[in-house]
Symmetry: C2
Subunit: 295 residues, 2 copies
């Protein structure tokens, strides 16, 4: 199964540093999870970043960019089934940008923070010679028995995705709603065997979930819910969907199909395939978005 250049580089780098061991979850999942919270509770840690011309353009409304900056790591908290708590914001500001930009940016970020119950605990700023870049540090919490990782899937588990995939660049990537409610509901009521958010495209992210679970996968291409005006290829490869991908044991899948329409009447949930014993990805499987492969 293909491993992205980005995953490979990060894995290589992690061999050079001491890595969290005595905690439930170190690097490699959507968030890290550490002990040290109230008994029965885990603290979730996430860092995420956006850079000009990679994740947004200078011409985009700064308030929407601020919304996106916070909602991206919120999507990772959602994928664990968790509840976000505190954020710290770091931004790199180029010489050709003034403070008016950051005020608009913070206004959008603040809107997201209020809507999703996050408070801002601090931050840091620096000049840099060119381009805007932002890094967001986010903490969350979760009842330890509800924690959903990428690693628990088994052959035969049914694969579901929320929402629609592909074509995010047309606007979705600046205004998406992180699936926090859905994530928490799933963790509490269904407890999928594995879950993650789709941020680099199903083509890159499904192999990650399968690999972490020690499984292969099969997908019915015809079932992939591509956004109107975009094809299956786009749905697999575009990235920035910020939807949930989950694996559910067949018995739980019955319950999920029954309860979902009442719980989330406005959010589509689509069965796209299942996990299998380990095997290579289909030969026509695309690699998805990879920061170090695709220009």
């Amino acid at each position: 199964m293909k491993i992205c250049a980005e995953d490979k580089l990060l894995n290589g780098l992690l061999r050079l540093v001491p890595v969290t061991q005595n905690q439930p979850l170190g690097p490699g999942d959507d968030c890290a999870a550490i002990k040290g919270g109230k008994p029965g509770t885990l603290i979730l840690l996430k860092t995420d970043c956006i850079a000009e011309d990679v994740h947004f353009l200078r011409s985009h409304d700064p308030a929407k960019v601020g919304w996106k900056a916070l909602c991206r790591p919120l999507s990772d908290i959602a994928a664990m089934g968790g509840t976000p708590t505190e954020a710290l914001i770091t931004f790199f500001s180029p010489p050709d940008l003034d403070s008016a930009y950051w005020k608009k940016f913070y206004r959008g970020l603040g809107r997201a923070a209020r809507r999703f119950g996050v408070t801002i605990a601090g931050g840091e700023m620096s000049r840099q010679k060119s381009g805007i870049a932002v890094s967001v540090m986010l903490t969350g919490q979760i009842n330890s028995k509800h924690l959903l990782t990428r690693a628990g899937g088994n052959p035969g588990d049914i694969l579901f995705v929320t929402g629609q995939l592909g074509g995010s660049i047309a606007g979705h990537h600046l205004k998406f709603i992180p699936r926090l409610e859905e994530g928490r509901w799933l963790a509490k009521n269904i407890h999928p065997s594995a879950m993650m958010d789709i941020s680099d495209g199903l083509g890159a992210d499904l192999p990650r979930l399968a690999r972490a679970s020690g499984c292969g996968f099969k997908v019915d291409y015809a079932k992939i819910p591509s956004r109107k005006g975009f094809d299956i290829r786009a749905a697999l490869s575009d990235g920035e969907d910020y939807e949930l991908l989950l694996a559910v044991p067949p018995a739980q899948a019955v319950l999920l199909r029954k309860k979902w329409p009442t719980a989330f009447p406005k959010t589509r949930l689509t069965e796209i395939g299942s996990l299998t014993p380990p095997r290579p990805a289909p030969t026509d499987w695309p690699s998805g978005w990879d920061h170090f492969e695709i220009k």
Copy 2:
């Protein structure tokens, strides 16, 4: 008293977002401190960043840059009297940089992590169009009764600094040792009324501590411990010292003067002045390093 452009911008931006309220410590100190840990323990949160041509050059040894990237926020944990725990690393990589750079960088960062007891819980990477930038998210912990903030100083408290100030650019900024041991010892044995790390120069940082404590300050310029080959002006304004600045009530200062030489025979501790009732800074007081004022 002068407020830096950077402080002013950050304060303005924080009015636009929901800010941590029900926690011991939100934005504005060296770290945030949140509840949610074991009873009697606080979780410290810190984010910090470095950018090429601002905090380091491409020609600097990447391992030293990695050391610096982690040791900067470690210095903030030290300033609270805390113990670091987990780090998450975000880096922005320009097109003209290959993975060899990041391997060297992580090797240096790993050296610092092992030496100071930090484990790496995760991270994120992104391309950006030009320049290297790194953001480090760091957690720590502290017994809540040992927490040292900037805000507890009172008129008459004696001001001390560790080490030597100024001229960091000659090499210190790439190889400094964060004052974690000293910080913990001070928190436990002396409990200064206020403490912070000097990262933007005493000229910028002392007014911050005084302001947070609702005080003014007086300093005997002749006593400021400037690094060999650098003058008082450099000691006040250069920045990147990563030393501790502390205010100590007179009775505790007696104890500190007595115990310090045995506890830290190799680390200089200098009495430089005292806190006063609120009053303007001396007219010849420099503003220190300010990312948005000084080119």
